[in-house]
Amino acid sequence: QDESASELREELNRVNSENKKLNEMLATVHENYCALRHQLE
């Protein structure tokens, strides 16, 4: 049981770290998108 919880924590950390990266990427793309749209307007 302990082992299983430890594995889950590890997996949770990994997915959380991935989510953080995804959020950063999304923010960058969104920022670029807005800048380009502003330029076109």
Binding site: A5, L8, N19, L22, V29, N32
Partner: protein, 260 residues
């Protein structure tokens, strides 16, 4: 663009949600510990599921935003290249206009468009003469002068003195091949007789007599004949071999005359 950026990859209070480890003094400590671990595992599993689902949502959103961004970028590039083409065309048009005609020949006040005629004539001129004025039977007003890379001699621009009722223009420049001649390029046809036609002295090709000699322009010459000769001369002068042969023949004639 509609997507929700309010996702929360990190639940900062997640650890607080986990069951607290409380000291137990009963004999069932082992059972309690097992219960605690089981409960923690369940909560971890739930949290992992939530974070995974959020991860999936983020990935999808990112793909969608990236796609939109890419589309917008392509549109931007297309607009930019179209703008560049327009800019180049406009610049070329302006250059062409400045090159020779300051107001478009062939477009009359009434707005009808006629095809403009371009002809070239050669005039003998002393090398010391830098005025670039040629006696072609018409009066002209100079409106510009410039030097081009292909020919270091200045090029002068004139418009007919009857302008704006007559839209004929000409440019005059010393010949790059033979500096003893100046080349006049005319655009358009005069809509009036030349006031000084009787004193004009133009080098023209007399095809009827088959000779290559300078002939005096005669007042009252038939208009059709004039136009025909002009057109023939124009087409022939476009041929560089003919131009060279003509220049050589005229030079030869001058040398002969100076000997006799």
């Amino acid at each position: 663009m509609d997507y929700d950026l309010n996702t929360n990859p990190f639940d900062l209070h997640f650890s607080g949600k986990l069951p607290k480890r409380e000291p137990s003094d009963s004999g069932s400590e082992d059972v309690m510990r097992k219960w605690f671990v089981k409960d923690e595992t369940c909560m971890l599993q739930e949290e992992l599921t939530r974070v995974n689902s959020e991860n999936k949502k983020l990935t999808e959103t990112l793909a969608r935003v990236s796609e939109k961004y890419s589309e917008l970028q392509n549109l931007f590039k297309e607009l930019q290249s179209r703008e560049n083409v327009n800019f180049c065309n406009e610049r070329k048009r302006k250059q062409d206009r400045d090159e020779f005609v300051s107001s478009p020949i062939g477009i009359s006040c009434g707005g009808t468009v006629e095809k403009s005629t371009v002809s070239t004539a050669y005039f003998h001129a002393e090398k010391s003469d830098t005025s670039l004025t040629v006696k072609d039977g018409y009066q002209w007003r100079k409106y510009g002068q410039k030097i081009t890379r292909d020919n270091p001699s200045p090029r002068a621009y004139f418009r007919c003195s009857f302008s704006p009722s007559c839209l004929v223009k000409k440019k005059v420049q010393r010949s790059a091949e033979d500096p003893s001649f100046v080349v006049a390029t005319y655009e358009g046809t005069h809509n009036h007789p030349g006031p000084n036609a009787s004193v004009s002295r133009t080098v023209k090709l007399d095809l009827v007599q088959g000779g290559l000699e300078p002939v005096e322009e005669k007042k009252g010459r038939g208009t059709i004949q004039d136009v025909l000769v002009q057109q023939m001369a124009s087409s022939l002068t476009k041929d560089p071999k003919f131009t060279a042969a003509l220049a050589a023949a005229i030079s030869g004639r001058f040398i002969e005359q100076s000997r006799t």
